[in-house]
């Protein structure tokens, strides 16, 4: 179901902030999907170091899970924790927008 996963630190919440979990739906190594992977990792390392978890789902290998989560376009980032249901479509290149949508800075950091 989940083709790749990345866990930073111990995978659980660490002192100083909440734990975050994301699921990123990609289409193999297509351009935007590759960019989205890189941009997400960079953001997480910068803002959530040691307290994030990313599941990568390749829809080319597993379309069923995409449909199950109503993901019809890729790349699509879905937040699983701390707020379920927040999603961002695209290559996550617009850092400010992604940070604002995921609320990575501010109250929840």
């Amino acid at each position: 179901m989940i083709n790749a996963s990345k866990r930073a630190g111990n995978g659980a919440a660490v002192a100083g902030g909440k734990a975050y979990a994301f699921r990123l739906f990609v289409a193999g190594n297509e351009s935007n999907s590759t960019q989205a992977r890189g941009n997400l990792t960079q953001l997480c390392e910068e803002y959530l170091k040691g307290r994030y978890h990313i599941d990568i789902v390749d829809v080319l290998k597993d379309p069923a899970i995409a449909l199950k989560h109503s993901v019809l376009l890729t790349p699509m980032l879905v937040m699983l924790k701390p707020r379920l249901g927040v999603s961002v479509l695209g290559n996550l290149g617009d850092t400010k927008k992604v940070i604002a949508t995921l609320r990575l800075i501010g109250g929840e950091r």
Binding site: E30, N32, L67, G90, N91
Partner: protein, 273 residues
């Protein structure tokens, strides 16, 4: 009422999602569309870039080919005029010399020499005509306006189709590449009039229009059809369009059934001055 309309905050979320979707599509950030039965991988940006790149390459190639063709035409015209033309002239003089020197008993030789001399005269005229068609000397010497005037006269003489030339340019001088392109476009357009239009009159107009130069060739023939305009095998039209595009210009063709056809080329003046 309220159960039919979703609450305002729900509408807002839906709008946000729609906006995000439109933005992602417009900025080519979507890689795949997941469907019930298949996944469609979309490579819009990549495909568009490749297509534009291929178009640019083709245009550059076409422009280069046109340039090479014109260079070759010029070289062949020069060779024809200088080498072949002069040799024929010498031959003609030689035959006249022979015709003058034969004795009265050699009348058959004299007749043959005169007949050959006439043949050579025809050949000299043919060589000149071919050389002019390959590279009209008047284009280099007198410029585009006079050349188009001359082309209109020749066209009328060859085809019997009345041909007028109009201009508001006076003694404007255009660069060599631009002049050759406009001349060739006019030549091709007139060829189409003669071959396909069934027209009785044609008008060539070369006009300054604001910052653009407009060349139009209009006839009163049967009118080109949309099918012919869009036909990818219409090499004449494609060639004219490519010449116009190479000068950052446009080509439009309009046909009215039974009323005639108008071809219009619009080129920024700055590109050909």
């Amino acid at each position: 009422m309220s159960h039919r309309n979703p609450p305002a905050h729900r509408m807002k979320i839906r709008m946000d999602e729609a906006e995000a979707l439109v933005h992602a599509l417009r900025t080519h950030q979507v890689d795949a569309i997941v469907g019930e039965r298949h996944i469609m991988v979309v490579r819009l940006k990549q495909a568009e870039e490749q297509l534009e790149h291929s178009r640019d390459e083709l245009r550059a190639l076409a422009a280069n080919l046109q340039f090479l063709r014109e260079s070759e035409r010029t070289a062949i015209a020069r060779e024809l005029h200088d080498e072949f033309g002069q040799t024929l002239t010498s031959l003609q003089l030689g035959l006249s010399w022979i015709a003058q020197r034969v004795t009265p008993q050699q009348r058959s030789v004299q007749a043959k020499a005169r007949s050959l001399s006439t043949l050579v005269t025809t050949m000299v005229q043919s060589v000149k005509r071919i050389a002019v068609e390959l590279r009209p000397g008047v284009l280099d010497e007198l410029g585009l306006v006079k050349t188009l005037q001359s082309l209109a006269r020749e066209f009328e003489g060859h085809t019997g189709i009345r041909c007028r030339f109009e201009t508001n340019l006076g003694k404007a001088k255009f660069d060599r590449v631009g002049s050759v392109a406009l001349f060739r476009i006019t030549q091709a357009a007139l060829t189409n009039v003669a071959r396909h239009a069934q027209a009785s009159t044609a008008t060539i107009a070369l006009m300054k229009h604001g910052d653009d130069l407009m060349l139009s060739v209009k006839d009163d023939g049967k009118g080109i059809t949309k099918k012919t305009i869009q036909n990818h095998n219409s090499l004449g039209i494609i060639g004219m369009r490519e010449r116009a595009i190479a000068l950052d210009g446009t080509l439009t063709l309009r046909g009215l059934k039974g009323k005639g056809t108008t071809l219009t080329i619009r080129i920024p003046l700055i590109r050909i001055l």
